[in-house]
């Protein structure tokens, strides 16, 4: 009897192993495109940049190994690094929640079958399409400038404005408003997420007499949580890496008050020819991003609901 069980166990084990191997192969097969790209084109350059971060590398001549010097310099003797950290944190914590809330709000507004909704969606997506060309930088500066449309509107209400972009006090807030304005991409993702929620759930809830507010909290939010999670992670990472707004519009100024981390990094790399230092900055940014992302992933277990795993 015992003998039998042992044999059975071994057979099961080897069956299990075989089926696991099969699964491995299938899985690797599916992710093969990415794996090839990752190993062929991503890992190498990433590790090279890690190597650069331990060198003195001016882009144009051979890197010279200097150990941890870049990192030491950064943490002990670089005011602008700390300034950039501060600015970037304010930017991320100011813009991400606002942008997501606004995007969700607009997505809900457009998640109907009313006439003209397709056109509205397009209109509201326009600011995001405009992106980061030179032309657009001029538009934003114009809009928030002393003689711009924002001040015209404020003047209508009797408030006298300033040059929002050039003001040391308001420049950063202006950039935050600007990225909130470009809420198009999370909005679209929310919209796609909303569309994927089975309509029957709402029908059943209505039958049970749940009002729209209850429906929102009991159905919409949980069903949308994978997408909220995605947007939160991506917007946080994008926030930390934000570059264009500051680079094109305020050029980091006035007085470094909009010095985004990525802008500082860029300046080091391509204006000051200090690619070694820039690489070190990049890896510190990666660590910061990773910490926050890991934190979001940790908490996800308690608030993200997956239909596919819901049954378990």
């Amino acid at each position: 009897m015992a003998q039998e069980m042992k044999v059975e166990g071994r057979v099961q084990k080897s069956n299990k192993l075989r089926s696991q191997l099969r699964t491995d192969l299938i899985g690797l097969g599916f992710i093969a495109p990415w794996l090839v790209g990752f190993l062929g084109f991503i890992v190498g350059p990433m590790l090279v940049s890690l190597y650069f971060s331990f060198t003195n590398y001016d882009l144009l001549s051979t890197p010279v190994w200097i150990g941890l010097e870049n990192y030491v310099q950064m943490f002990t003797n670089d005011d602008r690094f700390w300034k950039a950290i501060r600015v970037t944190f304010i930017f991320v914590f100011g813009s991400v929640p606002l942008k997501l809330a606004f995007a969700l709000f607009v997505a809900m507004l457009f998640n109907t079958k009313r006439r003209g909704v397709g056109l509205y969606r397009t209109l509201y997506y326009v600011p995001s399409i405009l992106g980061g060309s030179v032309a657009i930088a001029v538009v934003w500066k114009q809009l928030f400038g002393m003689n711009g449309a924002i001040n015209d509107v404020l003047g209508f209400f009797g408030i006298s404005g300033t040059d929002w972009v050039a003001s040391p006090d308001f420049a950063l807030s202006t950039l935050i408003i600007l990225v909130v304005w470009q809420f198009g991409s999370p909005m679209l993702i929310f919209l796609a997420g909303l569309k994927a929620i089975p309509y029957e759930l709402y029908e059943a809830a209505s039958v049970d007499g749940a009002n729209p507010v209850v429906q929102f909290f009991k159905i919409t939010l949980p069903m949308l949580s994978p997408v909220i999670f995605f947007n939160l992670v991506m917007q946080t990472i994008h926030g930390f890496m934000a570059f264009t707004q500051s680079f094109l519009i305020t050029e980091g100024g006035p007085m470094d008050n909009t010095l985004f981390y990525a802008v500082y990094l860029y300046e080091k790399a391509f204006a000051h020819f200090d690619m070694g230092y820039a690489s070190a900055l990049a890896w510190v940014l990666l660590l910061i991003c990773a910490l926050f992302t890991a934190f979001i992933f940790r908490t996800a277990k308690s608030w993200v609901y997956y239909e596919s795993e819901g049954g378990n």
């Binding site: 090279v48 030179v134 928030f144 040391p168 006035p254 007085m255 020819f273």
Partner: protein
């Protein structure tokens, strides 16, 4: 099993790292071997076709806007027509991204034969041995500079070697609106005026032009300070670029005091009115008739300024100090350089010679890059220039009376010094965040640290 796969993964990653590192370091080697094969190829060609010159291909890279692209492309076509054995492939972009493109190509050992250079980057590129010394080609006559005065050439020289040929002469200048002077009933300044006169003139304009219109858009940028230093026979950097070139912080304090007075007295536009314009010449306050004088620009920018303003403006030299030196210098607007990656440096030099001396080519180019450096070309173009262009020509001639020789190109790390100046001196002064004394001291401390790296 699991262990094994894990190990395998690590080994693969390592292999990739090694591969890429090798690829990086062999960048130069592979370039060298290219050169070998190319030489062989050209040897063969030479052997096969004794008659006629060997075929040459040149790559050329510049930045600019629509007008420059059109004109330069036409000039290149003309060159290829006149020199059928040369094929030039033009590569051109806007200003944005140009230096990233340059840097990546330099790192990849793949710079074009001819590149457009800026004065600001010259010593960085020469210091890294990326630009070829053109002296041999000047001596051989491939690059004929006999019609060019030294003031126009010196900007491209480092330690006696010519690394860059000026494409157009330029100068630091002020711009003013004669109509606004007239409206205010104020006589314009005369060249040779002092900083005090500038202040009182601006105040007068400000008072007479009414609310929300100011005399001058002040500028505390590094260009203005360099001018101020030159008036005192000093330069921002010392001779070997290892430290600041002036000892007395009072110089910077005095300069900043001028700007502060302009802003505080209401003679100058408040920073909110000009700060967001940044480097966009079209968004300066003079365009909107909010100030009568623009304190800082380059003379070739007058064309853009007039175009945006839609009215006539004039150029004016910068202030003097009593008993001081001459502050101006002839600034190269941009250069053509030959890269050391080029295998056809002689041919590249010949093309630069063509752009410098050929009358027909310069009729096409029409001084779009600044006042041409060859005397004959300059005379030839003068007769059929548009008014804005003519003003630029005349100004560059006028400036020679207020100019002396150019200082050596900025040392390595200069771009960092310039952003330091902007962040720790210029902006805080505009917004009244620091006193001139604090700014001057702070600047010295940090600048000394940056420049010490060159020791």
């Amino acid at each position: 099993m699991r262990q094994k796969v894990k190990k395998l993964l690590w080994v693969m990653m390592l292999l990739f790292l090694v591969g890429v590192l090798v690829a990086c370091s062999s960048g130069e080697e592979s370039n060298a071997s290219n050169e070998d094969t190319d030489n062989n190829a050209s040897d063969n060609e030479e052997a096969s076709q004794d008659s006629g010159k060997e075929e040459v291909e040149l790559r050329i890279l510049w930045w600019g806007s629509q007008d420059r692209h059109d004109r330069t492309l036409e000039a290149i076509d003309l060159y290829m027509e006149k020199n059928p054995h040369v094929t030039i492939s033009p590569e051109f972009t806007g200003w944005d991204g140009y230096w990233e493109k340059m840097a990546t190509q330099a790192a990849g050992g793949n710079l074009p034969d001819i590149v457009q250079m800026d004065y600001k980057y010259l010593s960085e590129y020469v210091g890294k041995d990326l630009l070829a010394n053109l002296n041999p080609h000047v001596e051989s006559g491939a690059l004929d500079l006999s019609d060019v005065e030294d003031v126009y050439i010196d900007g491209g020289k480092i330690d006696g070697g010519l690394y860059a040929v000026n494409l157009g002469a330029n100068s630091h200048a002020q711009a003013y609106d004669p109509a606004m002077y007239e409206k205010a009933g104020v006589e314009p300044l005369e060249p040779g005026y002092t900083y005090d006169e500038l202040i009182s003139k601006s105040q007068e304009l400000s008072e007479k032009l009414g609310d929300d219109v100011y005399g001058i858009q002040p500028s505390a940028n590094v260009m203005g300070f360099k001018h101020y230093l030159r008036l005192h026979d000093k330069w921002l950097y010392n001779d070997d670029g290892t430290g600041l070139g002036y000892e007395d912080d009072q110089l910077l304090v005095d300069f900043l005091q001028v700007i502060k007075e302009l802003i505080d007295s209401g003679a100058g536009t408040p920073p909110e009115l000009f700060k967001s314009a940044g480097s966009n010449i079209e968004q300066q306050s003079i365009v909107r008739e909010q100030s009568a004088i623009l304190m800082e620009l380059h003379s070739n920018q007058l064309v853009a300024l007039e175009q945006a303003a839609g009215r006539d403006l004039e150029l004016m030299v910068q202030p003097m100090i009593e008993g001081g030196e001459k502050g101006h210098y002839i600034k190269p607007s941009q250069f053509f350089s030959v890269s050391t990656h080029s295998e056809e440096q002689e041919e590249a030099a010949k093309f630069i010679d063509f752009i410098t001396n050929d009358l027909e080519a310069n009729e096409i180019l029409n001084a779009e890059r600044g006042v041409p450096i060859a005397g004959e070309v300059r005379e030839h173009l003068k007769s059929n220039l548009a008014p804005a262009g003519l003003k630029m020509f005349e100004f560059v001639e006028l400036v020679q009376d207020y100019a002396r020789e150019i200082d050596p190109p900025d040392p390595q790390g200069a771009t960092e010094i310039e952003s330091l100046f902007e962040n720790e001196v210029e902006d805080p002064i505009y917004y009244g965040e620091v006193t001139p004394e604090e700014a001057a001291q702070n600047f010295r401390e940090k600048a000394t640290e940056i420049l010490a790296k060159n020791k």
